[in-house]
């Protein structure tokens, strides 16, 4: 084995990011590393590249134990990394980027001609002939990525870590980068490949290791691996016993919203979607499949480039969040700490924020009215606090999430998008949020719920839309909303129709 990791452990305050993880890499192998958010992939890579110091375990490279303290030291040992972005400097020339820190010099001065020649020779190995005097930034992302790979290989030359190198590339560019990676594998490098795109993993890798919650779940040869099994490994089925009663699936509902051909380049492929009154739509899919992008599109954060949205009354403008709010939409974002709450304001101030913004600052909400609203929602949502004037930053995660919900409920939207509403929330609050979702729909509000936890989706959804590789690939309703069916839909291969809408609603 070229690289061996034994019981690698890394602890952060409050969490065990890596718990006795084993991993190994042979020369001439592409080893894919998979896992959802928080599984420990990036922690593992950062321990390997010296960005983090490990707490326990051993890393051996070619039989010798190593303990890199910095990315530069890891490079000198032979471990190079190419990240999704921020690799090289677009404002320097291709040659400067490739030769940075190793420029040929005479009397302290850089010999430009020799530098260009060496840079060209390096690129020739990758089948590229570029004008090395042009700024790197004037080339496409795929070319930049290959230049980054060339630099990493030249500097290190034993292990190459590719951390989602294809996230912003199109299909043809992905093929180009993969050809380069296969060439390197043939030259005997060990390659660690991190990606969210299962098709690419199956296409490129020899072996797959899956991490979940800081533990290694499985390591298998790619060709022996079944897609559904892989997804089960990634998403986990430990909650099986605790699965809530499926939502009492209600029949077709009166239609409310209709989206046709909504899409945005690089975010999500055009999709059709219908939403009924009081309906809960679930969005299932792996990380990076386009779930959050769909939410951002509908709320006008990254507005759609194609398609139309309409309700019973006519066309809707969803070009900005402000317009979406005016249309009666709401979005409780995934990262409530940075996008949801204002930590330094009180609960009362956070709750009236949205309502006040809609009324305009010229017509302040009376303090008595603010107090009444705050008290009302603290009671209705059961926000655990010593009073309405407490700073939101001091509340627990679940209560913060309830404050975000209260802000939207105060504005009385007809369509509320909840992106990972239960992330980082303890079990008790978790159940309360799900109960709240039921209550809301009883009053006719429609919800779009995004969640990585399949059980949660099953518990609340009337219909589930499955996404894969930024496409809406399936729509499940009624009896079909079951763990096995959802996982099969996520795992299915090949391009699927943009949206298998069944005219439900």
């Amino acid at each position: 084995m070229l690289l061996t990791i034994r019981s690698l452990t890394k602890t952060f305050p409050g969490t065990k990011a890596l718990d006795a993880v084993d991993f190994d890499l042979a020369a001439g192998e592409v080893h894919a590393l998979l896992g959802e958010n928080g599984a420990g992939k990036s922690t593992l890579i950062k321990c390997l590249t010296g960005a983090y110091r490990r707490d326990g375990g051993a890393i051996t490279l070619e039989g010798a134990g190593i303990d890199p303290q910095s990315t530069v030291e890891a490079q000198e040992l032979g471990i190079g990394t190419v990240y999704q972005e921020v690799n090289l400097l677009p404002n320097l020339t291709v040659a400067q980027n490739l030769m940075f820190g190793r420029e040929p010099r005479r009397w302290g001065l850089i010999r430009n001609r020799a530098m260009r020649a060496q840079a060209r020779a390096m690129l020739r190995d990758y089948g590229l002939s570029l004008d090395v005097d042009r700024d790197l930034g004037s080339y496409s992302v795929a070319i930049q990525q290959i230049v980054a790979i060339a630099r990493a290989v030249a500097l290190s030359g034993k292990v190459l870590i590719l951390d989602e190198p294809t996230a912003s590339l199109d299909a043809a560019e992905v093929r180009m980068v993969f050809d380069v990676v296969r060439g390197l594998r043939a030259r005997g490098l060990g390659i660690v490949f991190v990606s969210h795109f299962l098709d690419q993993v199956f296409d490129l890798s020899d072996r797959v290791t899956v991490l979940r919650n800081g533990r290694r779940v499985a390591t298998e040869r790619t060709r022996d691996l079944d897609r559904v099994a892989l997804i089960e490994h990634m998403l986990g089925r430990e909650l099986e016993a605790a699965t809530q009663e499926p939502a009492a699936r209600r029949g077709p509902r009166p239609p409310m919203l209709r989206f046709a051909g909504m899409g945005r380049r690089g975010a999500v492929q055009p999709f059709d979607m219908q939403v009924g009154q009081g309906e809960v739509l679930g969005l299932a899919g792996l990380l990076g499949s386009g779930r959050t992008e769909t939410a951002e599109l509908l709320f006008g954060l990254k507005p759609a480039q194609t398609g139309r949205a309409r309700d019973q009354g006519g066309a809707l403008d969803l070009s900005t969040p402000r317009a979406a709010i005016a249309a009666g939409f709401g979005l409780a974002p995934e990262d409530r700490k940075t996008d949801g709450i204002v930590a330094d304001l009180t609960i009362r101030e956070n709750i009236v924020l949205g309502l006040q913004a809609r009324r305009g600052w010229a017509r302040p909400i009376a303090r008595a009215e603010q107090n009444r609203l705050a008290e009302d929602y603290i009671r209705r949502l059961d926000i655990r606090t010593t009073g309405r004037e407490k700073r939101v930053g001091e509340l627990s995660g679940g209560n913060q999430q309830k404050v975000v919900l209260a802000r939207w409920l105060a504005m009385n939207p007809r369509f509320l998008i909840l992106d990972e509403p239960t992330r980082g929330i303890d079990v008790g609050a978790h159940a309360e949020i799900l109960r709240l979702i039921h209550d809301l729909t009883a009053q006719g509000m429609a919800l779009l719920v995004i969640s990585s936890e399949i059980d949660e989706l099953i518990a609340v959804s009337d219909r589930v839309i499955v996404l894969r590789d930024r496409r809406h690939v399936a729509e499940l309703a009624g009896e079909d909303i079951a763990p096995a069916r959802i996982m099969q839909a996520i795992a299915a291969t090949g391009p699927a129709p943009a949206a298998a809408a069944q005219g439900a609603a």
Binding site: V72, L88, L89, N91, Q96, E103, I110, D135, S138
Partner: protein, 325 residues
Amino acid sequence: MNIRALPLYVTIAIFLLAYLVCWTQFPAMLSTRVIGNLLTDNAYLGIVAVGMTLVILSGGIDLSVGSVIAFSGVFIAVVLRDSTLHPLAVFAMLLALTTAFGAAMGFLIDRLAMPAFIVTLAGMFLARGAAYMLSIDSVPVVHPFFDWLEGLYWLMPGKGRLRLIGVVMLLAFAAGIVVAHKTRFGTSVLALGGGEATARLMGVRQGRTTVLVYAFSGLMAGLSGIVFTIYTGSGYSLATVGTELTAIAAVVIGGTLLTGGAGYMFGTFIGVMTMGLIQTYIVFDGSLSSWWTKIVVGVLLLAFILLQKGLVKLSQDRLAAGAGR
């Protein structure tokens, strides 16, 4: 062609065009006398702009240099008046002092992760205050060696005088070109200006580079102070107020991106010469107010900022259209 070099070509074209316009109106403008004066009169500005170019390339700013020039003048004049030291020894002391001053500002900027704007603003007040402490009045420099330096020139063909301080500026630019474009340090500076996080990943020693950049700027400001003292023959604490802003203008007109990471030292030279040319034109004309210099410089600055914005957008659009081969 590299799109980054476009502002440089535009700068050169504007300078040549402006010179052509001047020449058609006043044929005498093409004489070596005018060129000699152009170099002499703008020597202190050019030298300080060399340091400023490097600072801006690194993504920073140095507001202290105008005050440092004034301090240098007062320092030289006062020390020569009150002691028997040779001017060369005083020069060496001064350069060590201003270099250390710049290095200290660079250290603070890096260690405290403070914006360069604030740290060098404090440096600006500090240096100006120090100049006042030494003397409030204008102090004449009286020393035979100084008079000799002042009178030193080479007679160019056509009776133009290339004075010592003009030569010092040309040497400063030559040194600046080598440092910025021919050394690993220069590449590191450009890398920092392009993106600190990426530069660190690529192995740039950020702290060392930042300290050296501001030390270089301090050195150039001290050198500029010496040149300015030779030029005016005195040291005055109220001199060169706002010179740092004129230097920044010269750097931007010279085609360097104000946000850092892209630009050419030679462009700054042309920028300084363009500003000097406008002044010379006004002197030749005789009827124009000297404030026209400021107006034209303002218009040029605006034009260059718009040009750079346009270029950045153009290159992004080309990328988006997939023209990157």
